[in-house]
């Protein structure tokens, strides 16, 4: 079995050959699906817990505190302890709640983000699904999360949950527009929606550098809109933990609540990973024109380290948003979207189309 940290395709190919040697093609397919599914579920749970821990630590350091530092070295097992606590809690269902939808909603939310995470390219040859419409697929699948949120609010039989869900849904739907349009900018540059092609097109430079100022504007707009779409940071008025009672998941307890919580953090990871893949070169190392030695040293760092390094930088920026800016009012939220982000985005796309038409990008 060949294993290289720089190229996973030979490794996955050798696993495939190993399996074809022992079973029929149908069973190979099913086994591979099961293996990939298991890996992603594990990855999802571990990364989600780690992100919750990371958020608490980052927020603590920003506020001159220490944060969780008791359970395990530097408090690394704190969120696992929290998860165990949530597992022991009673799963309470509100009287007259729509039981079926109430139970279904957390799964819809979590499946939507899990499906999107499956399509991301993590390293060379490390991508579960490589559609030719990959970016479109991710946008489509993440919007499914809204359905889960609305279901949760509707089935809870509580007016606070319903109002919270409506506000959440309205916010996500209106910012979806900006996310889609800012990603469209790079689709025009790369000329493809396939994520692996988009990453390959950045081998000689990331789009944020190659695309001049318009790409940078698209990147900033994507960051803002993605933060709003994940209901985080200064845009968490639907949830507003310090003023309201958590919006759509008010009536949820125990592990069902944890599902929403985990999905929220994984959506943040998804937004950061998407920004990395599309604007910051995915798993491509940083290359500068003709500096051969510099480029050689950068090539030495494995692609998976590049991917997660860049993703965590973007995650840090998104966390910094949350712990720096005051929360927006609903009218400010809509003004930002409809009066600033959307017009700038539209002009930006026309500009990019012109740039690509004239062949002015690198």
């Amino acid at each position: 079995m060949k294993f290289s940290i720089y190229d996973f395709s030979s490794f996955t190919q050798s696993i495939h050959e190993l399996l074809t040697g022992v079973m029929s093609p149908t069973w190979v397919f099913i086994t591979e699906l099961a293996i990939v599914g298991l890996i992603f579920l594990l990855f999802y749970a571990v990364l989600g817990l780690f992100l919750v821990y990371l958020e608490r630590r980052v927020c603590a350091f920003i506020q001159n505190r220490l944060g969780p530092n008791r359970v395990g070295p530097q408090g690394i097992f704190q969120t696992i302890a929290d998860l165990i606590k949530l597992l022991f809690k009673e799963l309470f269902v509100v009287k007259n709640a729509d039981k079926f939808l109430f139970n279904l909603a957390p799964f819809v939310v979590i499946i939507a983000s899990l499906m999107a995470i499956g399509a991301l390219p993590y390293a060379k040859g490390l991508q579960a699904l490589d559609f030719n419409i990959g970016l479109f697929y991710i946008i489509a699948v993440t919007s499914l999360g809204v359905v889960g949120i609305l279901l949760a609010g509707w089935s809870s039989n509580s007016k606070y949950s319903l109002l919270g869900a409506m506000r959440s849904g309205a916010q996500i739907i209106s910012y979806e527009l900006s996310v889609g349009l800012s990603l469209l900018a790079i689709i025009i540059f790369a000329g493809s929606m396939q994520l692996s092609v988009i990453v390959e097109s950045q081998a000689n430079g990331w789009w944020i550098f190659k695309g001049h100022i318009p790409a940078f504007i698209a990147f900033v707009i994507f960051l803002i809109a993605a933060t709003a779409e994940t209901n985080r940071g200064p845009f968490d008025l639907a949830e507003a933990e310090s003023e309201l009672t958590a919006g759509f998941h008010t009536e949820y307890t125990g592990i069902r609540f944890a599902f929403f919580f985990l999905a929220e953090y994984m959506n943040m990871f998804l937004a950061a990973a998407l920004a990395t893949t599309v604007f910051l070169g995915g798993w491509m190392p940083l290359h500068f024109g003709n500096f051969e030695t510099f480029n050689r040293i950068m090539d030495f760092v494995p692609p998976i380290v590049w991917f997660f390094g860049k993703t965590f930088v973007v995650i840090y920026i998104i966390m910094l948003f949350k712990w720096t800016f005051p929360r927006l009012r609903i009218d400010q939220l809509l003004t930002l979207e409809w009066k600033y982000l959307l017009p700038i985005n539209l002009v930006n796309i026309v500009l990019i189309a012109f740039l690509v038409l004239m062949g002015w990008h690198f």
């Binding site: 980052v58 350091f61 920003i62 001159n64 505190r65 220490l66 530092n69 720096t324 800016f325 600033y340």
Partner: protein, 160 residues
Amino acid sequence: MNAFFNYFSEIGHGIGTLLKGMRVTSGYFFRPREIITQKYPENRATLKMFDQFKGEVVMPHDKNNNHRCTGCGICENNCPNGSIQILTRKETTPEGKSVRVIDKHIYHLSMCTFCGLCVKTCPSDALAFGQTFEHAVFDRQKLTKVLNKPGSSLKKDVKE
């Protein structure tokens, strides 16, 4: 045309102020000046509480075992929870005057909300806040304290 420029200058101003805020917070993240969190059980020996901290009500005594409480009862009347009880007795001075002295200044820590009205209203500054905070006990009788030490007497310079 003016509105057009205003639109962009507003955006520029907004981004500028947002970046200023982000510079402050990431400054704290990368170069924390002073960590406020106290690692409590480990630093128990060196932990020093701040001046305004209201641990419990105490009655300071000087080195001759004298306190400043005249037993006027203002603190008892002012306490919203009734957590102070003052027992007084009459004593005759060598000059033949009859004066009131405290027998016991009883303080129920279990009922106290640390509002500070007793300390604030005491006319002779007899009460103060102590810095201790480890009040947990296994018997609630232990939360009823007598603030004046046994054998203590009123300081000479305190007037009624």
